[in-house]
């Protein structure tokens, strides 16, 4: 007999010029995982910010354990027992695990911080949660997954009754995700209610007890465990039907000529003997667990990080690449997994970002810019890639994830790059926009571009790649043709670390 923990109803919130939430409702029982889904801009974040006291609601009520509560500040939220783990980590890398968990609430004796008690407290908490971490370690030395565990421990150290997780697995590998899910199972047994926001459909099936769907700030509906069916959920999210489990269709575009040949690429710490070929009109997928070295391969090829002993041929000619500008000169563009930090000038407009790699083409004598020609080009890309922006002078920060990704793609198209390296092309992009990015990738190879696509989402790899390079422990453990590949086979190679070390 489930007992109701949280009931939220009639929530509305508007910002100047936009109704972010309109009469939204949901319920959460004790010991239950409620998954909240919706495309970017559907209102999930606004709703969570209201629950965690960052925004004030315009209307509606929040009832926790049968009593209406007022949440007017993050502190108030913590006091009533609602904790949130943000998508972006809020940890201090130079402090220890324990110091991070109890920041602002350090146990003190005579005014001094009692470091021993602090560590013991943290150790107890971590033990209780089944997290194996030394409380004295610096957070900056931990993997992303472990940092996330610290965030969770911190949130739970407030004796949270409701725990909100905003895309907790976006930076985790499959096995780390498993660990997180086991942790969630444990929390459920203790009666904690969890609100789980995710873009990943597979996760719904795995952990959701109930799904609530938002679209355009409206409550669309909820499905109980038995009724959860992915196509239905997606249809509720986007308001239309999408096919799942598709395989690549652009195979016919692949040619035999090799546009990029990498031999014996290595780096001092991780990579060993990386050799592969990329053919014209091909999407070459790179699969592997986090830490396998896929991003490192990309960064070493483009000269962003130093490499050792590599022989690289572009279009049949041997080239030396010492820094990213060399790679770009040879027509290789890199689209980082971290668009916001490494791919875009967020505070500058769409036009600047699209032209950033090709400004030389719009420069006249004495270095003066020919702005008119550049703007025309930008507008062309906004139209052809269907970038949704009110104008090319919009600040890039204000665009949705999918449209930001398109701006980055436009940047490399404007530079006439024939080889594009996509690192997690759809990370943080909602379902509908994902489809559009997929189609764009297919269009690009149909036009004769060649693509290396690093992705942690196996369905994505299988759906788009003609061939799949699987990496583990800094080496290539297998290269598969799409016909021969399956999720199981890829995972097999991806976990094949020991065999390769001989």
């Amino acid at each position: 007999m489930p007992t109701q923990l949280l009931k939220v109803s009639g929530i509305s919130k508007s910002f100047p010029g936009v109704q972010a939430l309109q009469d939204v409702q949901f319920e959460l029982n004790r010991g239950e995982v409620l998954t909240l889904v919706g495309e970017n801009g559907a209102g999930k974040s606004s709703l969570m910010k209201i629950l965690s006291g960052i925004y004030a609601k315009d209307a509606g009520s929040i009832v926790l354990e049968g009593e209406e509560v007022v949440i007017d500040s993050p502190r108030a939220a913590q006091q009533v027992g609602i904790s949130i783990i943000h998508q972006e980590m809020n940890l201090m890398p130079h402090l220890t695990v324990a110091q991070n968990i109890y920041i602002g609430r350090e146990p003190r004796t005579m005014g001094f911080v009692n470091e021993r008690r602090l560590n013991r407290q943290a150790a107890d908490l971590l033990n209780r949660l089944g997290i194996h971490l030394n409380p004295r370690r610096l957070v900056g030395e931990l993997s992303v997954a472990h940092q996330q565990m610290v965030e969770i421990a911190k949130a739970l150290s407030f004796d949270a009754k409701v725990l909100i997780m905003d895309e907790p697995t976006s930076a985790l590998t499959e096995s780390e995700t498993e660990t997180l899910f086991r942790l969630i199972e444990g929390l459920k047994e203790h009666g904690t209610g969890i609100i789980y926001i995710s873009h990943r459909m597979e996760e719904l099936r795995r952990i959701a007890d109930r799904v609530t769907v938002l679209r355009d700030g409206h409550y669309i509906g909820s499905l109980d465990k038995g009724e959860i069916d992915i196509p239905t959920v997606i249809e509720m999210m986007v308001g239309r039907h999408i096919e799942e489990g598709a395989r690549p269709e652009a195979r016919q575009h692949a040619h035999d000529d090799v546009v990029l040949k990498v031999e014996n690429l290595g780096t001092r710490h991780l990579l060993k003997d990386i050799s592969f070929e990329l053919r014209r009109g091909e999407i070459l997928g790179f699969a592997g667990l986090m830490g396998a070295g896929r991003t490192e391969v990309a960064r070493a090829i483009i000269g962003a990080d130093p490499s050792e002993g590599a022989v690289i041929h572009v279009q049949g000619k041997e080239v030396k690449i010492h820094q990213p500008s060399d790679a770009v000169a040879h027509g290789i563009g890199y689209l980082s997994e971290d668009r916001k930090a490494l791919g875009l000038l967020l505070e500058r407009d769409v036009n600047t970002n699209i032209l950033l790699a090709s400004l030389n083409d719009y420069t006249g004598p004495l270095g003066f810019m020919r702005t008119g020609k550049g703007k025309q080009k930008s507008r062309g890309y906004v139209e052809s890639l269907r970038i949704k922006t009110p104008s090319i002078h919009q600040i890039t920060k204000n665009l949705s994830g999918g449209n930001q990704q398109k701006v980055v793609i436009a940047k490399w198209l404007a530079r006439d790059c024939d080889i594009l390296i996509f690192d997690e092309p759809t990370r943080g992009i909602d379902v509908g926009a994902k489809e559009e990015i997929y189609r764009l990738l297919n269009d690009l190879v149909a036009q004769g571009k060649s693509i290396i696509m690093i992705s942690s989402e196996l369905p994505e790899v299988l759906r788009l790649s003609h061939r799949i390079v699987v990496m583990a422990g800094g080496r290539i453990t297998g290269i598969l043709n799409n016909e021969d590949a399956s999720q199981a086979k890829i995972m097999d190679y991806a976990t094949n670390i020991d065999d390769e070390k001989e």
Binding site: F15, R415, N442
Partner: protein, 340 residues
């Protein structure tokens, strides 16, 4: 599967609406700090004109402009550096060294006027180049690299000059670089400031160099990954700042008709203050030459006005300090608003 599903994305209210209003708001915000600075300048001028009848006379305005010249020229060069997210503390004593070297070239070595002046400019550019190499190639933090250069330049200026001023009395026409009047009633130093301001404006707003300056300040790593040789451009930025320092050195030497080996100390902070009052963000990525010129004018109008009102020199520093606090405060206030 032979065709990917076609997605017709209906326009969503939540995506486009805030974006649209965002453009106008962002634009206004960008102009706000500048117009605030300009408004402040106007208010100051009106205030001092009422407070003292001597303020709004051509001779006083001309002396305000003359006082703005040196700080203004330094501030112009520093604007580029600050927009990249860096800082240049070496411009004050760098200016001194450039002035002293000009003296060495013209007085001790008796080189032709034009050569001596070019030598002074080159001295500044060379210091900037070294700063640039230290920051871009050796990856020293700008604060440290230019702090070291500040000490080095001061030391060299003292050593080379023998801790004595170098007088240009024998150098025909040198003084006219600053004090001559090609435009009647307007000292050449002011003309140089305005010409350099125009050059700086064109560089920053109209050239590739300017675009990359902003791009590096917005996100250096993203710019580098876009194939821009950021190391090279950073060196260029600091060299340009150094060149402006060289101009300031020549102008101040000509104005005083002597190279004073200790004069530049503190100028760097005044120049940086002018840049910040003018709305350029210390975090990088944002700024304008127009703002810097207005910022420099605000500083000199304040100091001149307080002096005319017979307020002690000691208090002038206090007032300038408060103005800086207010300027930076309005800037952070604006950023906080745009962040949420």
């Amino acid at each position: 599967m032979n065709a990917s599903p076609v997605i017709e994305k209906a326009p969503k209210v939540g995506e486009t609406a805030p974006a649209k209003s965002g453009t106008a708001v962002t634009f206004l915000r960008a102009k706000l700090q500048q117009s605030l600075a300009f408004g402040t300048l106007i208010v100051l001028v009106i205030f001092f004109s009422i407070a003292s009848s001597n303020f709004f006379s051509w001779s006083n305005i001309s002396s305000i402009l003359l006082a703005t010249a040196v700080i203004g020229i330094l501030a112009l060069g520093t604007t580029f550096v600050i927009i990249t997210g860096g800082i240049d503390l070496s411009i004050g004593t760098g200016m001194t060294l450039a002035a002293v070297m000009t003296g060495i070239f013209l007085v001790n070595m008796q080189l032709p006027l034009i050569v001596g002046v070019l030598g002074g400019l080159a001295t500044g550019a060379l210091m900037g180049f070294i700063n640039g190499v230290n920051i871009a190639i050796l990856k020293l933090p700008p604060f440290i690299a230019t702090l070291a250069m500040m000490l080095i330049a001061q030391g060299l200026a003292l050593v080379i000059s023998g801790v004595r001023p170098i007088y240009f009395s024998g150098v025909e026409g040198f003084k006219n670089i600053s004090l001559g009047t090609i435009i009647p009633g307007l000292p050449n130093a002011v003309l140089i400031l305005f010409l350099l301001a125009i050059v700086a404006y064109l560089l920053l707003s109209k050239t590739l160099f300017g675009r990359y300056t902003f791009a590096i300040g917005s996100n250096e790593e993203a710019t580098r990954l876009s194939g821009v040789n950021t190391r090279k451009w950073l060196i260029v930025v600091y060299t340009v700042a150094g060149l402006f320092t060289g101009f300031a050195g020549v102008v101040i030497a000509a104005r005083l008709d002597s190279a004073q080996p200790q004069i530049g100390v503190g100028y760097e902070l005044q120049a940086i203050a002018a840049v910040i009052i003018g709305g350029t963000s210390l975090l990088g990525g944002r700024g304008s030459i127009m703002g810097t010129v207005i910022g420099a004018l605000i500083m000199s109008v304040l100091i001149n006005g307080l002096r005319i009102m017979s307020i002690q020199t000691e208090w002038q520093n206090v007032v300038v300090g408060i103005v800086i606090l207010i300027a930076v405060f309005t800037d952070t206030l604006r950023q906080r608003r745009s962040a949420t």
